[in-house]
């Protein structure tokens, strides 16, 4: 049995503050009865057990837990780069279990942004090109790309380093590029797997602030994992995972009005 059934039901029943549209109340991701295990040699190792979870839209959600607790696996399932053995995953209102591999690729390209622990930038592309790459994959017109990418570079404070390749950037700068890349297509959800783990505490803190800022500015849901309890204060929702089971979920009531206005301002700028 999942220990967080009650809080999740409450969340589903209560409309979010500051959002009038029913669309806003719809969870950006929903995980129901999900189980996942990996085979190591001949042994089946359960990683996630009967997970039920709702990720609120436009919120900054942190997935906490010690190493091996199943955080990354849960992120992979919600990020649609892995499939559950059992249960259902719904992202942006779409039941992704039934999607084909190509459909999942298209779905990820449209709705999900990724930020990786090791940044995972393409080393042969410049910062500008790395951010532009998802837009190219989606066939976004050159004019739109030409407007959006410099804005993102500006937003993450790397306008001067647009032509630098990842090898010419520091860890913090690379992660900023990765954040900009994740946001390039204006996804519904950004998945970040331990985005600060490979950074020193000061840079990690700055990256966390940047993510929070971008999340508020673009009103995009962020779901990221960490084993650092100090990130709790930055999060709206905190999900604690241990041994493949959700131990607790803490949700903070936040106003979405301000980020919504920010998004409207950005959209009018883009237009």
């Amino acid at each position: 049995m999942n220990s967080v059934d009650e809080p999740e039901k409450r969340f589903r029943a209560t409309p979010l503050e500051g959002s009038s549209a029913s669309h806003d109340a719809q969870p950006v991701a929903e995980v129901s009865g999900v189980e996942k295990s990996y085979r190591m040699d001949a042994v089946e190792v359960p990683v996630l057990k009967q997970i039920n979870l709702l990720v609120r839209p436009g919120h900054f959600t942190v997935l906490l837990g010690p190493s091996g607790s199943g955080k990354t696996t849960l992120l992979n399932l919600i990020g649609c780069i892995d499939r559950p053995d059992k249960g259902e995953v719904t992202v942006a209102g779409c039941a992704v279990n039934d999607l084909s591999d190509d459909e999942l690729s298209d779905f990820r390209a449209k709705h999900i942004g990724f930020i990786f622990q090791n940044f995972n930038l393409l080393p042969v592309l410049s910062a500008y090109e790395n951010i532009e790459y998802p837009l190219l994959l989606a066939g976004v017109p050159a004019k739109v790309r030409g407007e959006r990418v410099p804005k993102l570079l500006e937003a993450v404070g790397l306008a001067d380093l647009a032509k630098n390749r990842p090898g010419q950037l520091s860890g913090g700068q690379r992660q900023r590029v990765a954040i900009a890349r994740a946001l390039a297509r204006r996804p519904r959800l950004v998945i970040a797997d331990e985005p600060t783990a490979n950074l020193d505490s000061q840079t990690g803190s700055a990256i966390l602030s940047l993510m929070r800022h971008m999340q508020q500015r673009y009103q995009i849901s962020f779901l990221f994992s960490s084993h650092d309890r100090s990130v709790i204060r930055a999060a709206d929702d905190t999900i604690y995972l241990k041994d493949g089971v959700i131990q607790s979920i803490k949700r903070r009531q936040v106003s979405l009005a301000e980020p919504t206005r920010s998004l409207q301002r950005d959209q009018s700028e883009a237009a």
Binding site: D101, D106, N118, L122, P123, V124, L125
Partner: protein, 465 residues
Amino acid sequence: MIDFALAVRNLLRNSRRSLATFIALAIGTSSILLFSGFSANIKLSMQTAYVRTGGHLQIQHRDFFLYGSGDPTAYGIRNFRGLIDAIQNDAVLKQQILVLTPTLQFGSIAGNYEAGVSRTVIGVGLVAADYNRMRSWNEFNLPQTDPPFALDGAAPDAAIIGTGVARVLQLCEALKVEGCRRLTPEPPSEAPALPSDIAELALEGSTAAAADAMRTGAKIELLASRAGGTPNVVAVQVVLAERQGFKELDEVYVMLQLPQAQRLVYGRGEAEATALMVQLAHSSDVARVKARLEALLPAAAGAQPLVVMDFKELNPFFVQTIGMFDTIFGFIFVLIGTIVLFTVSNTMNTAVVERTVEVGTIRAIGLRARGVQRLFVLEGALLGVSGAVAGAVFALVLAALVNQLGLTWMPPGSGDRLPLVLLVSSVPGVVIGTTVGLSMIATLSAWWPARRAARLGIVDALRHV
């Protein structure tokens, strides 16, 4: 466009490995093309030699090719001049035929009675002026030119013999044949000497005055059987000993004026020819001209069972040689193609392993599996095309350089050194085919590693260390 940029940059990323693969491809391509250039030189040189000496086509009695050497008089072409006129009056053939000339081939014994030596020879009677024109044929612009035909403008009883014939008949000194060792003279025999000129004994042949004139210089007698089986002898004045290209031919070849040959073989009877040689301006017209001649023959040649044979049918050795070179070319292509396949495949496999995390990343970002496959195949194709094109350019440049150096080589069985020419640019089909072929092999080589990359699980790829 982004795929192309990524492919190029990824290739340049590990420049040493890419360069090694590129060089392997370039060397492979140039090796194939240089060999094909050499092979083309052999083919075209042989073809040129055969067309110069025998024409593209010959009209013969249907059985002459197989049985005629034993009895040419039984397989001659009667009224060959009428047939020549009919062909020359054909509006289409007139434009395609350069030379149409009769020839008479016969078996004979050539003797130098003064030296007391003789040998069996193949005699050929030719119209010297026509044959001289045939020898200047050079459709492929090869750097090998035959000297003017010495019988053209020479006396009616003049003859040319192979240098091998000259050696055996001990005429090297008289004919100034280079590299022909003079034998130590035997002590004089006590037996009564043979007449210096057996031709004097012949019923047919030269007049006494002509015989007197021939007593000086290199004079030989040719003995052949006439129609009906009676022997006949003519004396001829050898004006030149000439290499015949192939040693076997050089040892037996005697050329003389057609009327002289006809007098030897047919005596006072109706002169015939054993073949009409047809030389064309362009070798590509062979099939068309052959078909037209075959259509023309029944009306022009009457009831004579004549056939038209092309130079390939007349020279099986040519076909066998070309077949051998084609087989070697195919073997080399397969060998190098296999090397290219494994080299590119190995390069791309390594690239896939090295970039596994990148594959996971771009898949997570939203690139479809097919897109990943396309990316790696494109890299293989770029390597293949660039390497093969560079190899082709290198082969063309090297061939031009070698051709400029004026090197020579001695083909097996040949009596002469021939220019070493690499006709790479003369076979554009092979250049394009090889370049495209190796590029395709390189692309296909990348297909399997690319497929493996495309099928990587995203999570596993991202976890890859």
